[in-house]
């Protein structure tokens, strides 16, 4: 049975919890009349899947998992491909270099018109024609870099592509990929082959997140037996990797019928990266505002001031900056206490470092790790919510805090400024619902917390503004309505074709 929507997902729902996974779960549950098929891409060998982290709603009719990494390609003969098509493959790389993506449909029609046709993974990795293409590209573009590194970088960057060329996505009226990257490529290939409509929702900007990761990586690839740091030309190979992800995003932008993101800053980034502005759209995340608005308050003890941190204990949240900031706050306010709420098992090493830092700074008895608990129990017991992340999309915690009428201190990343100060003029007129600080700056974060600690009236005012803002712009119902409408429109458009 053809599903209504096939969600193409990379390394998250329904196997890994997190912001994006929660969003997907929310969307599926809120659209019970839509039949969803899930195509999940894992950085694993083959199709073995980890245990589910979510209970699948009944309207999920299919779950397919697909591994893009792994070991050897079995020597399986593919279809013979005329030399002219291999020349098209080479020429397509020139198109990519010039940021043109028009040739994809024609290329696929010649090379691999369906997932079961075309060269096998083994052909691509070990075959002479693809060697000829790689060699021609090397000679034209990088004749002075180490060839063995170029070659292995090509293999590792392209192996997932060759795998995905052979990936059979579930049959659906509309394809909805929840990122660019490999998921974007899988959806793009299906779009280019079947002409079924495809939409993209990007929470974080995939290519930029990958670039950040790559810049921080010591090893670009580990070559068998001799792990090798590329002392010479390392920048070149990092650039190759980054560019690959950039191109994947661009290809996805070019094929998508609609490019959605969750806040304005991301939309601008997408357009900078080549997305057609006419296809872009912001649909912010939404929450069930009333649930949080209805939470009561547990009054604080006299002289007590309660700071809350809600998020996974991982480096990207920069909890260490929070702990340093709290140390400054604690120095000024003897009754200050901090509560850290969120899973601590994702990066136990980092959690231990953070706990160690708290001890070193002498605040360990005023700072508690609560682990993963229901946030509904947390918001009534804090006076301010703090976020110190170095990277964010549109963090749910800020919506929840606002719905619970809590003021917020947040770093200037992702949608935080839009969320605290307003997006359009009407939104801004509601007033600020928190204080935006610079990243990795404990002094600034502490200063903002102290400002709020010393001014109960300001806290109340910001709480009111926050609640008004989420009521107006960040309702779950609005998000659901938007996607229901998009799915309906695209499915109808597909039916007309």
């Amino acid at each position: 049975m053809t599903a209504d929507v096939c969600l193409v997902i990379e390394g998250t729902y329904p196997f890994v919890t997190g912001g994006v996974a929660g969003w997907i779960h929310q969307l599926i549950r809120a659209l019970p009349e839509v039949r969803f098929a899930l195509f999940h891409i894992a950085a694993a060998k083959g199709a073995e899947a980890p245990p589910l982290a979510y209970e699948l709603p009944p309207n999920v009719v299919d779950l397919t998992t697909f591994g893009i990494h792994g070991g050897d390609e079995p020597p399986q003969p593919g279809d013979p491909i005329p030399a002219a098509v291999w020349e098209d493959v080479r020429a397509f790389h020139d198109e990519l270099r010039d940021s043109k993506f028009t040739g994809l449909e024609a290329l696929l029609a010649g090379l691999a018109p369906t997932p079961s046709r075309g060269p096998s993974g083994h052909d691509f990795i070990y075959g002479k024609p693809s060697w000829t293409v790689v060699r021609a590209l090397y000679e034209a573009r990088a004749p002075d870099v180490s060839f063995i590194d170029y070659f292995w970088t090509w293999r590792f960057t392209h192996l997932p592509i060759f795998r995905l060329l052979r990936a059979e996505l579930p049959e659906a009226h509309v394809y909805h990929t929840v990122s660019t990257g490999w998921a974007g490529l899988a959806a793009t290939l299906t779009r280019a082959r079947t002409r079924r409509p495809m939409i993209l929702t990007e929470h974080g900007i995939y290519s930029r997140e990958r670039r950040m990761e790559i810049d921080q990586t010591e090893w670009i690839y580990v070559q068998r037996q001799m792990p090798m740091s590329l002392s010479v030309g390392q920048a070149f190979f990092k650039e190759l990797w980054s560019r690959l992800f950039h191109r994947l995003s661009q290809i996805t932008y070019a094929q998508a019928d609609l490019i959605v993101t969750i806040f304005e800053g991301n939309r601008i980034a997408q357009i900078q990266d080549g997305a057609d502005p006419a296809k872009t759209l912001v649909i912010p995340n939404g929450i069930a505002v009333d649930r949080f608005a209805a939470l009561g308050r547990v009054p604080s003890e006299p002289d007590e001031f309660r700071v809350g941190f809600v998020g996974r204990v991982v480096p990207i949240k920069d909890l260490k900056t929070f702990i340093r900031a709290f140390r400054i706050v604690a120095g000024s306010i003897p009754g200050a206490r901090a509560t850290i709420v969120g899973p601590i098992d994702e990066d136990p090493g980092y959690q231990a470092e953070c706990a160690g830092l708290a001890t070193t700074l002498g605040v360990e008895d005023r700072l508690t790790f609560w682990g993963a608990v229901d946030v509904g129990l947390v918001y009534p017991k804090v006076d301010v919510v703090v976020l110190t992340s170095v990277s964010e999309g549109l963090p749910l915690v800020l919506l929840e805090a606002a719905a619970a009428s809590l003021p917020v201190v947040a770093t200037d990343v992702g949608a935080c400024r839009e969320l605290l100060e307003g997006r359009g003029p009407e939104d801004r007129a509601l007033g600020p619902s928190g204080i935006v600080t610079s990243m990795a700056d404990p002094g600034a974060t502490a200063g903002a917390i102290l400002t709020l600690a010393r001014d109960p009236e300001l806290r109340r005012e910001m709480g009111r503004a926050g609640l008004a803002r989420v009521r107006a712009y960040y309702q779950e119902a609005d998000l659901v309505r938007s996607y229901r409408e998009i799915y309906r429109r695209l499915a109808a458009q597909a039916a007309v074709q």
Binding site: I125, V145, R224
Partner: protein, 481 residues
Amino acid sequence: MAGIGFQLKKLIAKGNYAGWLRAHIYGAVISAGPWLLSITTLATLSLLSRNIVRGAEHTLARSIIVYAYTFSLITTGAAQMVVTRHLADCLYVGDEGAFLRAFRWTIGTTALCHAALAAVFYALGPDLPPGVGLIGAVLFVVVACLWMTMVFVGAMRDYVSVVWAFLVGHVLSLGAALAAGWHWGVLGFLGGFTLGQAAIYFVLAARVEHEFAQAKEPQRRRGIRHAFRRYAPLAVAGFFYNLAISVDRLVFWASSEGVRVRPWLYGSLYDAPLFFAYVSIVPAFAIFLVNVETDFYDGYRRYYGVVTKHGTLRQVLEAKAGMTASLREGLRRLGLVQLPVTLGLIVLAPQLARPLALDSLQIAILRAALVGAGLHVLTLFGMIILLYFDRRRAALEVTGVLLGLNLGLTMTTLWLGPRFYGHGYALAALASALWAYRRLEETLADLEFLTFASQPLSPEVEPILPPERAAAGAPAVLGGS
């Protein structure tokens, strides 16, 4: 482990003709020495022993020795090739500790298997004087173990020990056979000969044991049994090759030209010309060994060095061109020396009839066999170079061509008549040489593709390079008896 290439280069580095000549004589001695000594010993024995062991007994003794050499080469062919490769793999990853374990396993298995084979063979052979079958069996086992030991000493590059061991051992074989034959007839003759061969084996085995007595513990990796499964094509190639170099003589033995000694022992007029033809290619061995150990091996190492040490593709191709040029230069030199020798012998063949005790038909066979041996040696060298580039399947094809054609065409020549004797071998050698040349040209043309694109993605399969000197020691196995 003395690097033979290093010593050769030292000789050549003297920069004069004498140094060059000495290097090549040295090369000839170490590559063909053991085999030349074996032939010389046999020839000397048959000349000197006539007055000691007479008539049918003499032929019987000779046949038992020839059998031991011929069949042990065939039965150890597969193991020689696989063990050679296994040792090269061990050396490549620096696991010299595995040598001793592999050596003992190999010798134990070889001895057991060949004892079983010999037991069956001599048990079935009727009418043998008591004890002769037993000594024949012992000789068979000893010689088989000797071939396998040569693989180990070859991997150590210790050719000098081989040559000395063979020299001493053969003198001992000769002396003991004649002395014991004088006293105890055919039994003593065979026993004495076997004693000398056993001495060679024990000297070389002690050499291996001594060399690796101090080696560190073997790494915990897959052993030699795994190598047989993994290198099955190599095993087949080794078996094919060793069978191919004897199959024409076996065909003659079995034909109406064969000389029956006992119900299952043969010889033929074809044997002697073939042996002399083999002797004619000693110069080619010398040139090949010197070239492979010096220029080619340097170029080979430079090529893979550039590949792994992050060279650009242009540098890789330059290194390939250098290596290819050294191969072509080696081939040119080989032709320059071998061609006049072979042609000269063909022209002078009639004059050789008397000193070599060959009749006119055998002279005609000798002429064809001289051509065959010249081409055969090209086949062998092509195959060795193919193995340097890890082209196992191509090597298998080459040996398959040589075996199939040598068998088929030799049978055809028997059917066509005496005028064609020897031409089957020559044609088979021509075809296999051309095949090897074609595969080698393809390999060289595509080398960078093969080097990079054939590397498997998963780590556990193979090292990044074809293990160096995969074919080390192979020159020593040409011919036999």
